[in-house]
Symmetry: C2
Subunit: 224 residues, 2 copies
């Protein structure tokens, strides 16, 4: 399903090179549940952005569902990504002028869903993350954790085959965070491939597989 | 030092009223170390923004260092705030076109510090949060946790009397988070009033006093 072969990401900063990722070899099968952990700056978000087709590797090869991603045109890449991947960003990335519900409907518009179906679907997703009475609020009228939950609802709206979640409970209290984890794990049980970045070792322990990054490299892998 | 008397914050949303805070009575003495906890959406950031003079209450009275805050002019309020308070925002709020070091220097420019003193001071602060080799990076060239640490360095740069930190370790791995906590606690030992919002119950237990919010109200207070 997902195959990274000697993948690296380097940034040139004047005379210095920052190696955000180096020599990553990783295979993820359909339906896997994987936690990615590691210190601040170790390359977790960089890895997620490459897997999610939001960024390109500078070294190595990335294959997604038999597509060699570097060979796809911009349009074709966007098509594959929108059809396959749901992404919860570390910084949420909501559109500030749209309400919570309109933000969740956005990927459904791209998926060609009818207006009334979109409306129903976005309401269902927002209810699932506990925001049924915040649907009309814009992002600046929501708390940090509420914005994070809108981002989660949006990522789940298209029932993606692969869900990438970059610290999906980072802004949530323990109780709300556990509700979200149960929601994500239910989806995994139903077949969604779940890859999540977390700083919380207790949450990482729930995954079936744990990958640890340090300085851009995989230094440890555990299968349960 | 800080005195909230029946403070409330209400938002009018069409025909509905959202009570983000209600009937908050709170006194904080100089040098206190307080943790504010509570579920997502319970009013923690709203409380911090009012205490930090970044937002105004719709009910009640807020007194800071003997100033009745609602009575201060916009300019005088900014003066008092810049002289007294350091703020780590839940969403960091860095200026995207400035480097990490320039972001940290900003409050020092307002404080009238000379260029060479600002340069030295910002480098010291960034070193203290472990970012000595990221000083020239702009926010979009930094990881989530690195941005958070720049926001912390910036808040500490003026050695404020009161430090308000809205989830200062939310984007950090456990190890880096504990280093930051020790840095903040050292400052508290030296006299800085420390008020921090956290979702982490273990971190909250380190404070000398814990305030729990639910639905905009203080429902529990513990002194250790
Ligand atoms: N501008 C606004 N208009 C309407 N409602 C608002 C506005 N700003 C905040 N709220 C509401 O006020 C409540 C408190 O928000 P606040 O940001 O203080 O919560 P919080 O405790 O910091 O939550 P979190 O832990 O998720 O960061 C939330 O329910 C939020 O939806
Ligand atoms: N555009 C860029 N230019 C230069 N360096 C960058 C750029 N983007 C990221 N980096 C660097 O790459 C490294 C990895 O960043 P990344 O965001 O993947 O870390 P992370 O593991 O997600 O960290 P965190 O836990 O703090 O979110 C960091 O040291 C960061 O400074
Ligand atoms: Mg990250
Ligand atoms: Mg908040």
């Amino acid at each position: 399903m997902i195959h990274l072969d000697m993948v690296g990401k380097a940034y040139q900063m004047g005379s210095e090179t920052v190696h955000a990722l180096r020599n990553v070899n990783l295979t993820i099968e359909s339906g896997d549940y994987i936690a990615v952990i590691g210190p601040s700056g170790s390359g977790k978000s960089t890895l997620m952005n490459i897997v999610g087709c939001l960024d390109t590797a500078t070294h190595g090869r990335y294959t997604l569902a038999d597509h060699e991603v570097a060979r796809l045109s911009g349009d074709r890449l966007a098509e594959v990504r929108n059809a396959t991947i749901g992404f919860v960003f570390q910084t949420f990335n909501l559109l500030p002028r749209l309400s919570a519900r309109e933000n969740v409907e956005l990927p459904l518009i791209y998926a060609g869903m009818s207006k009334s179906d979109r409306r129903k679907r976005s309401e269902v997703m927002l209810r699932r993350v506990g925001l049924e009475d915040r649907m009309r609020h814009k992002p600046n009228e929501l708390s940090g954790g509420q914005r994070q939950r809108v981002a989660i609802a949006r990522a789940l709206a298209t029932s993606p085959a692969v869900l990438l979640a970059d610290e999906p409970t980072g802004a949530l209290d323990t109780h709300t965070g556990l509700e979200i984890m149960r929601l994500l794990e239910d989806l995994n049980t139903e077949g969604t491939t779940l890859i999540l970045v977390t700083h919380d070792h207790e949450l990482a322990m729930r995954a079936h597989r744990e990958i640890r990054l340090r300085d851009g490299e995989i230094v440890h892998e555990e299968i349960r």
